[in-house]
Amino acid sequence: MAQSFPYTYYRCPCVDTSTPTSAVAPPNLPSDPSSAPVEQDEEEGHTFDPLSPRANFSLFPLEHLLYCTECHEIRCPRCTMEEIISYYCPNCLFEAGSSSVKEHGNRCIRNCFNCPTCTAPLSVNAMEMERSNGSDTGSSASEQSHQYFLSCPYCNWSSLEIDMDFKSPQNIYHQFTKFYRSQPDLESKPSQVSPTEAMETPTQATTPVQQPPTPTAHPTDQEHYARLTAFLRTQISDTDTNSYNDINFSSPSSITRLMHLYNPSSKKAALQKPALMREAQKQNEGLVVQDLERDQKRIQEIRFRGWDGTISLSQRSQQQHPRNIHFDTDLRPVPTLLICKRSKRCRTCRSVLFRPESKPTSTRFKIKLLALEKIPRLSLRALNAATVPAALITSVPSSSPLITAAQGFDYNALKPLKPTLFLLTLSNPLEDPVKVTLATPGVSKTAAGVESKVTILCPQFEVGANTDVWDEALNPSTRDKEREREAKRRSALLTLSSGSAESMAEAQAGVRQAEAGKIWSSGRNWTSVIVEVVPNPTIDPSAKSRSSKGRGNEDDDVLEIPVFVRMEYEADAHGDGDARLDDSTSSARRRGEKEKLEEAFWCVFGVGRVVGL
């Protein structure tokens, strides 16, 4: 994976419960057998396979997750609902009103544009050349004819390449939209087929086309669309008169409608002979006959301009009107997309999980229920580089597990058939001590099929509460004392055996073996245990035959360990979230009572890459 090793991903359980299909009642889906087996697959008791393509959609880094305190569940982007608080432009940080957002296709309507070739923000520049030209004719003219253009500071693209310049440095967006509105010829404007005109002469539909469609320039998408919509509108309003035929006489509103019928109008004729809805026949009605010449011209242009003259797929997808564009001269500056501040709600209980302040420049939050604060952080790092005892020197005396990582360990080259020890550290963000049970399928595979044996030496342990940092220093618990003693003993051993490396190793081995059933080290709110990983190149034959073809995929050799984490803790009966909402009686009752809570989830450790034998 792109993240550096080792990394941890957390799995959001929402895939099993709140997917769209599972919301649809299963018994009424006899024709849809696919939904049922999936639910069975994902039932509890089945192990989670991080290699399955579906896993990519349910695994998240812990920082991306929220936690619903009502449902006591992890919430990922998929199982939250979003509400927009405010829209703003990421470039100029200007807040936009929701009505203008709809009107302008959530683009910034000030001066923010993105480069069509490289997507960098464009800057507005004044044209210098104009001044020198103006000096020949007259100084006053040069003052007026200031022109501005957009240019990209990154790739040097400028709007002059497509002959686009602006009169003023303000309100570029409006000048930009005008620029395109002025281009189409006035003859073929959609207003020509105004609805009223067509209404007056409904028989127009049956009269033959007198003029052949004049060969006009190929219409732009917007023109084409506008003409066609206008045409269809008139057609529909013409043919709608049919509905007068089947009027319900019993209701007063129908009678008022009937009275309208007897007004002298063109509708009378339509009553006798309902006009057929016809199709577009002219270009100003929205019919564009394909110009086959144009294709030939395009081929010639491709031939002369080659690869560099054409636009790439990503450039095309950036464009607002990506149809019918092929060459770099077709590129237009792209007004910057607005982004918005959102609040997030739990899909199940609708409680707000996340609400930022509405100002675009503010980085504060009103509500923020992060999974980071509720879910223990698990991390994995190598215990050492070469052998177990050598690691002790560097790793063990340090009190924090974060420094215990071996400095020189190469995660990108896990050796097969060699046991490698990893330190799995679980730190507890809760204010209550937690009992943790870890479980792993035992055998993890890489995508290429290399199986690895994974053993968690101590799968059940306790983690202390996340109390005040000073608690540890001021009144050390017995466990801390114990640890101190151990550290002393170790350091004594180190000084004792500093003579030769060999004797040191022996001494270390004697004192500090990774022992099954015992935790490695622990602190105020963290505990570390040892995980042993043995990459095993004896792979199943089908995988071998496949991998032997040597089509090395980028993530084929990545070893990922799925671990099921289950934690139990006792919290205050009503949870700390609504403590302030409760009245005094319940709070009094709460004081004594404790509630047993349980949390379980899968997480995935990216260990490293397994190298070949």
Binding site: A2, Y9, T19, P20, T21, A23, V24, N28, L29, S31, D32, S34, S35, V38, R54, F57, S58, F60, H64, V101, G105, N106, P208, V209, Y225, L228, L232, I236, D240, S243, I247, S251, P252, S253, H260, L276, R278, A280, E285, V288, V289, Q290, L292, D295, Q296, R298, I299, G306, W307, T310, S312, L313, S317, H321, H326, L337, L338, K549, R551, N553
Partner: protein
């Protein structure tokens, strides 16, 4: 309130230039006869009813979902707000930012074993037997969420979705699609619209031969008065073109590095191939393609000097230099394999049923249609789909089709064998009879091409002259106004299915297949089949087919019944 029938009908009525006066009352009375409400005056109920303001507050989302891309936008806009693909970059984990790493596009990723070319870029396949539908759902969910949160930015207003999908979408996939759309957008109604109809709408026509060169399949659909009446498919589509192009690039790359045979290092990635196809591929015109190689060289020297084009593929070690003329080869071998179109040998080479070359596919579709329809559609050919953007393709397709028609006429039997003489006699007789008939009835302009094709048809004994007469009698007056040049083919530009959906939603036309949220979420697709008797079982005959086929402007029988229309069959 939201489920009363007149509530919905009223909303439909507003927004047009003039509200249809009686719809409200009719449907209301049909559902349950009752006294009209007197709380408001009747005129205000019609013109200033609260539903009118409510209506404008509604948001119309238009989605087009295909195998490769999701197009999403709002109604009454001329292009979709976003076009999202389902490529491997969209399937990464959250927090995996490798696609933004420098040099990422230079790495060639190999496809997994057992995967067909480009399979990693597909959302679904029509063959759902070995497909993980849950994975489809995951991909779709992510894409819909991105479309909503990045481009549409929808708020809490009630929403309606117009969903443009292929009419042959399998029901499990349709079910997934619907539930995901309801889930992502919290819409109260989804209107389904077939791709071909939407393409027709966006071209301004009512009948058209829609040639949709999609990713996995090219479909040729005959649409007559906004109804799909015939469809044929071929696997010669954009995917095939991509594979052919990849082969070409691999060979050229091997040539450039001095190797005899292309190996796996030469093979370009799917992204590179796509890039190449959209930038440089083109299609020869009919004349160039059908002249002998040495002749074509002469032509080439006049105004078409064969220059080589440099192709800097990002993943390749060196810049390739490919002659411009060979850039048209993949298109040639994919869509117009000559031995299959004009078989010269005996027995003639023939393609499998599912991989007919495009001109043959068009011809066969047209052949299966009634003459009247055929003559209409010949002038209304629409090319859409990702593969249709290759420059020169449409003119080539038309001239190939024209040549086929000239060559074979409208004869279902390709080779009469020993019966040829007998048939010739019969044809002569028929022609005489026809000539006699023609004296009586003068030809009109519209029947020009019909007549020509009818002539051919009668040669094949499938079209007795009496039917021609009957048709002439039945012809509607409106059709006379059509400007028709006899014997020509015409391609009409369409703005694509998404725009068709946008127009459809903008004009506030009630679709035939309207899926109600509550109903769908409680009962799934099954609720449609049951009530309409349309699940494909014996009860299906009760419902008139024509009514359910109509996809535009049709009226619903009643709110309590919804059908899956063309998808339910």
């Amino acid at each position: 309130m939201a489920s009363t029938p007149d509530y919905f009908n009223r909303k439909i009525s507003v927004g047009r230039t003039r509200p249809p006066p009686s719809q409200l009352q009719i449907s209301g009375a049909a559902a349950s006869p009752r006294t009209p409400l007197f709380t408001r005056s009747t005129s205000s109920q019609l013109y200033n009813s609260p539903s009118a303001t409510y209506r404008t507050d509604e948001e119309f989302i238009v989605l087009e979902v295909g195998t490769r891309f999701l197009r999403a936008g709002l109604a009454a806009e001329s292009s979709p707000r976003c076009v999202l693909n389902f490529g491997p970059d969209q399937q990464r984990r959250v927090g995996d930012y490798r696609q933004w790493m420098p040099g990422h596009e230079n790495k060639r990723r190999k496809r997994k074993r057992g995967e067909s070319w480009g399979q990693n870029h597909e959302l679904w396949r029509m063959d759902i037997r070995d497909q993980d539908t849950a994975l489809v759902e995951d991909k779709l969910d992510r894409a819909l969420r991105e479309a909503d949160q990045k481009y549409l930015l929808t708020d809490n207003r009630p929403k309606r979705i117009t969903l443009v999908v292929d009419s042959l979408l399998p029901r499990p996939l349709l079910s997934i699609l619907l539930s995901n759309c309801f889930h992502a957008f919290a819409a109260h109604t989804i209107t389904l619209l077939p791709t071909s109809i939407a393409s027709t709408v966006s071209s301004g026509l009512r009948s058209a031969l829609v040639v949709d060169i999609g990713w996995a399949e090219t479909s040729v659909t005959a649409v007559y008065e906004y109804k799909e009446i015939a469809q044929k498919r071929s696997t010669r589509a954009a995917k095939w073109l991509g594979e052919e192009t990849a082969t070409l690039l691999a060979v050229e790359s091997a040539k450039a590095s001095g190797k005899e045979k292309a190996d796996s290092t030469d093979e370009p990635s799917v992204e590179e191939t796509e890039e190449f196809v959209t930038r440089l591929c083109w299609c020869q015109d009919y004349a160039t393609a059908h002249t002998a190689p040495d002749e074509s060289k002469e032509i080439a020297e006049e105004d078409f000097e064969d220059i080589s084009v440099s192709v800097p593929l990002p993943g390749a070690s060196q810049t390739l230099s490919i002659p411009f003329s060979s850039l048209s080869k993949p298109v040639e071998s994919t869509f117009f394999p000559q031995p299959l179109i004009t078989p010269s040998r005996d027995p003639p080479a023939s393609a499998d049923d599912d991989e007919l070359p495009l001109p043959l596919l068009l011809y066969k579709t047209l052949l299966s249609l009634p003459v009247e329809v055929r003559s209409t559609l010949l002038l209304r050919i629409i090319l859409t789909g990702g593969g249709s953007h290759v420059p020169g393709l449409s003119s080539r397709l038309l001239s190939e089709l024209h040549a086929l028609i000239q060559n074979r006429e409208w004869d279902i039997v390709r080779n009469w064998g020993s019966a040829a003489e007998v048939m010739a006699q019969k044809a002569a007789q028929a022609r005489e009879r026809k000539a006699a008939a023609e004296k009586n009835a003068e030809r009109d302009a519209a029947a020009g091409s019909t007549g020509r094709s009818a002539e051919a048809e009668s040669g094949g004994m499938t079209m007795p002259p009496t039917i021609v007469e009957l048709e002439r009698q039945l012809e509607r007056p409106g059709s006379k106004s059509r400007p028709v040049t006899p014997g020509t083919l015409r391609a009409v530009e369409s703005m694509g299915p998404w725009v068709g959906g946008s127009i459809f939603a903008n004009l506030k036309i009630k679709g035939v297949v309207e899926v109600d949220r509550e109903r769908f979420l409680s009962q799934g697709l099954a609720s449609a089949g049951k009530e309409a008797g349309f699940a494909g079982h014996a009860g299906a005959e009760k419902v008139p087919l024509a009514g359910t086929r109509a996809s535009l402007g049709g009226k619903m029988e009643g709110k309590t019944v919804w059908t899956l229309g063309i998808w339910g069959e």
